[in-house]
Symmetry: D3
Subunit: 340 residues, 6 copies
């Protein structure tokens, strides 16, 4: 079988540190042929550094000359939509960074085009690949949790407004903590509910700390240019009577610098992660189950591999185009609810 010819669009650190190394590990299935960035020099440097044959600042040129059939998009959020649409039109499978897009309608359109073209469009929500989450999904599948009815999903930073990139730019990113961090744990929570679409959403967003300034633990930010939410709180209710409490923050007066955790409550058992513990009954007594020897895995590699599996038509747990469209819809409805 011939290898996929992969191109990357976006020349930032996520390409450099995550996607290129992962693709290179999969060299039996994928060959990186080009990298494309608005900044030609950046594209060039990245290509040189990783021994990638071609570098472009124009995607059209890239498609014409290199004919890739697999494209990884790691641009600012507002460019996910145009580049994904173009790639699909060019007949390429697309692996797109999260969040899927800026607007729900964009993600929906992207999913429709992929379906129409019979191509794989998938999103890089790689927490699905942690050993803890995979194990939890196994427990769910085997019925050990019973019916899952409530989830608390948190991705909270105390003072983690990124001091670099475009993270506080509303136009380019579409939002703040929810777009950047919240989608990760929201994706997991939705997975636990088989990606049902919520019937009710109530939410609020905040920007007190972002607009005031102060100590930063991930570099310094300019409160004058802080245009997004530093915290988003949301409640999702489902037709099945399930519910999700979602909290995401770049900045919040809380204890730990980074707190990424989920609690999953089912009728037969509950779970907390990370790390993973189960709370259930064993032999008629309340039991806590811990997994002291779970492996740390390279979740980027596993997620890229899952995407490639999908392209090959194999079973895969990568976030699908359809799921991405639902995810983006939920994000948009959260922002809408918060406007009141």
């Amino acid at each position: 079988m011939s290898k996929f010819k992969a191109a990357l669009i976006g020349g930032g650190s996520i390409a450099d540190k995550n996607h290129i190394p992962a693709l290179k590990h999969l060299s039996e299935q994928v060959e990186i042929v080009a990298v494309c960035s608005r900044d030609a020099a950046k594209a060039r440097a990245l290509a040189d550094q990783h021994s990638i044959p071609f570098a472009y600042s124009d995607a059209g040129e890239m498609y014409r000359e290199c004919h890739p059939n697999l494209v990884v998009i790691c641009t600012p959020n507002n460019l996910h939509y145009p580049f994904a649409m173009q790639a699909l039109e060019q007949g390429c499978h697309v692996f797109c960074e999260k969040p899927p897009a800026i607007r729900a309608s964009e993600a929906r359109e992207m999913a429709e085009l992929a379906a129409k073209k019979g191509l794989v469009l998938a999103y890089n929500l790689q927490l699905r690949q942690t050993s803890e989450w995979e194990l939890l999904m196994k427990c769910k599948a085997s019925g050990q949790l019973g019916e899952i009815y409530h989830i608390k999903a948190n991705f909270l930073r105390r003072r983690g407004i990124p001091g670099w990139g475009y993270f506080t730019n509303k136009e380019m990113q579409g939002g703040g903590a929810l777009m950047d961090l919240g989608v990760h744990v929201l994706d997991l929570a939705l997975c636990a509910l088989d990606y049902a679409v919520p019937t009710g959403i109530l939410a609020n967003t905040y920007d007190f700390i972002g607009k005031t300034g102060g100590k930063g633990l991930m570099g310094s930010w300019d409160p004058q240019k802080f245009e997004v939410e530093d915290a988003a709180m949301a409640y999702l209710s489902f037709a099945t009577n399930a519910s999700i409490m979602l909290s995401a923050s770049f900045a919040l007066n809380t204890q730990t610098d980074i707190d990424r955790n989920l609690e999953v409550f089912g009728s037969r058992g509950g779970a907390k992660l990370f790390p993973l513990s189960l709370y259930t009954e064993v032999a008629g007594e309340l039991a806590d189950v811990n997994f002291p020897y779970l492996e740390a895995v390279d979740i980027q590699l596993k997620n890229t591999s899952a995407f490639v599996d999908a392209c090959l038509g194999k079973p895969s747990n990568v976030c699908t185009a359809e799921q991405g469209a639902v995810l983006q819809e939920v994000v948009e409805r959260i922002y809408l609810s918060a406007i009141r």
Copy 2:
């Protein structure tokens, strides 16, 4: 000044263990004259045990013969309303167990009658009296938290469905975990927001474990007779843009047997309790403030004393009739939201 003449309505353990001892500690201001219970023998035994002069099974008779001017109501929830109305009509100040009533309209009526009569009606939500909460309210008052915009309030039991009393009886109690446990932390959360009335509420209630049965840590319960919610999850949104996430459970597959905690997030500082820690900045650095030597206090005594202070026209932090009406309204709207 003459002492208040107090009567208790309800002859259960809350009268025996909480209210009577507290009132006796306040013997310079209050004299217990009678105890009244549907069960005449119970009333008699309680009166004898605590050397209370009179015991009744009929409240009307009690009012006629003893002329109390202060009444403590500790009956099942569905009797709060009729007994409180009667007591107010009789010209008595009323100290009523939580929740205020079964329906929001009842609590509203009670507040209106108290106002009309110029009497004190207050509720026994005694977590307000903990050293931790009082200290937090001091910090709020002095501006150390800035504007409070989000609160997570939890009162969760793993397997704490009470194996005694009427706790699982819908008609007598009006509900389960929310009515019995949730109101305590909801009251605190509303205090932190100056008892604003939420503009939006979204909620769900559950009864998986209650209806299935299993190991109990607070006695055994009969799943056949389990009529209330074992868990309630709710989100409250306010006109000020503040929000509350509320979780209450009798039974939930979670780690600890009893987890009663709040997180309060403000623009200048945050707090977690119990115990109390503050998360803020000191001299430009992120600082955690702990209070290793806070006193344990008798919160029932302090709350009863706060009620008596209110009756004497002194400043008091006891839960007022008006606050109780708001609290009951919120509870009712949570249940309504959960019906969908």
Copy 3:
């Protein structure tokens, strides 16, 4: 149904603190009619203290006058045999302190007489009644441990040679750490193997510290009068290929003052106790299972109750006469092996 008429033989603290309180808790089934001790004054005092009608210094007289049908024996070890034989001859059910006897032949004879008379003879090995052990036996029964093939059973004291009673007197007690402590965990280990009889035994006993003297944590002892083993180490091998490592000590240069624990290794899971943890696989990963909310129970009350159940012909997990005979045989073979 009429109550059992119980008599106690032996007037020491084990009667006073363990057996009499337990029997009194079971007053619906048992009535204590007499206590008998070589020391008439002691018998009298004990009877008075617990409002027991009669006190004797002669057992024959007691049988003639009181006609008990249930006898509890809590004398020094060398009197278990004669008093148990006498009680059985008198037609009484017998609840005897551990160890069953001094010699294996005695315990065997006792079991045979009980069988012949159709009476219950049982031994007070009450660790069987701990929540941890009962839960472990449930797990065993449900197959969660698979086939149990190795057990490490330890009852070790660092400097716990009792400074009172007859514990160091060879003639009265028959031995030291093994007779007094080791039998408890040996009984559990044998239960885990369905009370199989070992085919091979290799063992050693020691008395270095007992004969040298030094610091005592349970009173002082006289090294001149130390006649028993301060430590016993034994290995038991079974026809099923199972094995037990048994360690018991009154005195040993080890870390903790008292270390009573078992490790049970099965083909599908292992366990450590006390407290109880399971080591197994869940969903294909190595899992540790803990039981944070096991109840502390009154194991003496439960064991006495189990004995009474046996007398009533109900199912019971009390140590039977037959098991006691096997236990005594193993103890004797351990001492024999250690003589080499």
Copy 4:
């Protein structure tokens, strides 16, 4: 003084990672002249990597051409005997990996030939070189432990069946957990008893987990090809009345992934390691002695150095040919006992 001319037989990772680096550190005394492996390419690669002059696939050729006078054997266990005999016949000192051989008679023969030839034959049991063990032996020598009478020696892995090499091949390795892991702690335990020969041995071996399969923490293994014991339990009794409890496992349902520890009980003091703590009396009180600043040492380097010291006629604590013969005899008797 001229340097030893060293050759290595066996080209696996133990040569690569342990022996060659150690020998190179001792370059003032030893010069590595050749490496020999059945697999010529492997020998060549290893020689090149470490700048060793010659590589052979035939040992005879190596002896003829290189004339080494010091040979390190790190082949599969079943080749220890033939290669050691050959090396001794060639007049070389021999440093052999553990276990000494497959059969007791082989190790005995090897020791006899070494003695006859006046050559050093020693075994790489390098736990003797840990700071903890050396310190314990000093304490033993100075009498701080008194007479040592009981030892518990454990080398337990929870799921550590090696997923590489020949570890589960009965013919090549002679056994499993006992041969590979148990010999390390058995060697230490025997050292503590001055390498006395046990008079009684009772033992069992198991293969439940190895033959069933499951999660592996050291790679995956094939249960179909699992021919050795996954656990060995043994009791050794000595003429001096001392005793040893030995436990070794590749796989056991126990808590920790790797638990390598010894407890040594003496008449005046006891010890637990690793790390080392002493349990004794100081000034008439029970005292625990810890050594918080013991150095971590390169035990392979120290053991190789001890072997070279022995070759130079200096005092050395390396495991001697005679000790190796006793060790192998004990191992064989354990297996024999377990056959029953």
Copy 5:
């Protein structure tokens, strides 16, 4: 031998809770005949409560009527001197609370009169009786510490200004933290140096917190009436080149509420207490020695018993009149140094 006839002077809680219970435990040697307090009613009540035959408000009367031969003085500090002198004149052995007196000259005079009269005068510095200190003195005696050359002695409270009694009254108590707390650890430090007299003293005292007021952990105090030091810091240098750093506080902005500890540095070993740890070398390695099973003892009973032993001419480690005179001299010199 006839019993001592004991009288107590001072009717406060130290008589009630410490001295009377201790004397009663020693009823074979001592009989309490009278209690004397300026406040006749207090004396009467105390006598009644403890079944002491006589109560006085006038000491002279007490001596005339009761003829005690052993007097315990537990008055405010400024009365130690006059009552001790009177008691000695009356031919009584005297057991006096700490500190010995207000002025050094008083303690010296008291010691001289006791010597002249051949009577025992001793002080109640009961920390000497802790198991930890006794064990440390044994280690010192056996040479395990070598030459002791430096001691850090601390008795620090964070906010422990007593809210009762006369503790902040300069005239009655003579000083604050040094007089009340510091003398305890100073006494121990001087014991470690064989009660040598320091050649140089440099010291400072403070009253910032005491005079400012604030949160109290031992009741509230009136900053207006705070006349003593809330903290004393001192350095003592000895002719032997030994040195002591002494710190005592009623109030200090430090971590723990009460921190009473000593560090003792000797040429062969050091110690920290409470609890006691030794830092030394064992077998050539740095070793920490802990004593996990030291008994908690009733130090008041042991100290009273030591005083009685002294009265009986037996060996005793109670603080002697001579040591008390040195202690008081050091205290006075610390205050003098602090005046600068």
Copy 6:
């Protein structure tokens, strides 16, 4: 602005590891032109290793040829004075290693010459640059500590006599633990008191362990050649009534291998470091304030940078010539006090 031309005098590891890397980080302001060491080869090697143009063994020659205007002195202590005087005479700013000199008069002379010449002379006491100390000084400046009145300053090693260099040579180093370690924490303590000059000093020095020998944790030392103090204890009293307790050791029988800490007691708050905690009152309750996210910083780089700032006339917290003169005076007075 032109860059400073820097030269280093002293070719040891402190030049290699600390000063040269720091200066190179400041390459926009400083250019290293030469390195000078008595040992010409050492100078050469150091220059080559760091690409420094010139190497000298004669400082005079260096000044003549290279004309540096900034000199870093990192020689043995006894050469600080002559080289600093020479450098100042040559018109260079001087950054000198601690301690300032051997004698107080030297440091005073150095300060006077620097003042006369209008040059910067500063000392490398880099603990001032820790995040913890800088934050504490901010808290002091903002009044959060009130008046600071007592400081405990410790720099203690258990067995840290350096086994290399000249640390135990009295003539070259001027002293031991005080000169090498004590000055660091003494400098901080004096900073906390605005570098007041103490009015009273009492001190002792010791050399028991240094002269006896034993286990070393920082290499081995020769007790025969141990000429300095292994421990210094001192008390400093100030005209403001403030006081300092100072303890420094190379070797002391204490718990931890290295214990470098300060406690600072003020009228409104106290502090302990490292790490930094504050002990104060918040909202009327005792509060502990911790700073969990302080950054680890390169204190050498920050201190060198502070020195360069001073040379540029910018504000700087580097230890000044005047402070160094006071520090040296205090050190000398401590040694003088200890001679008694």
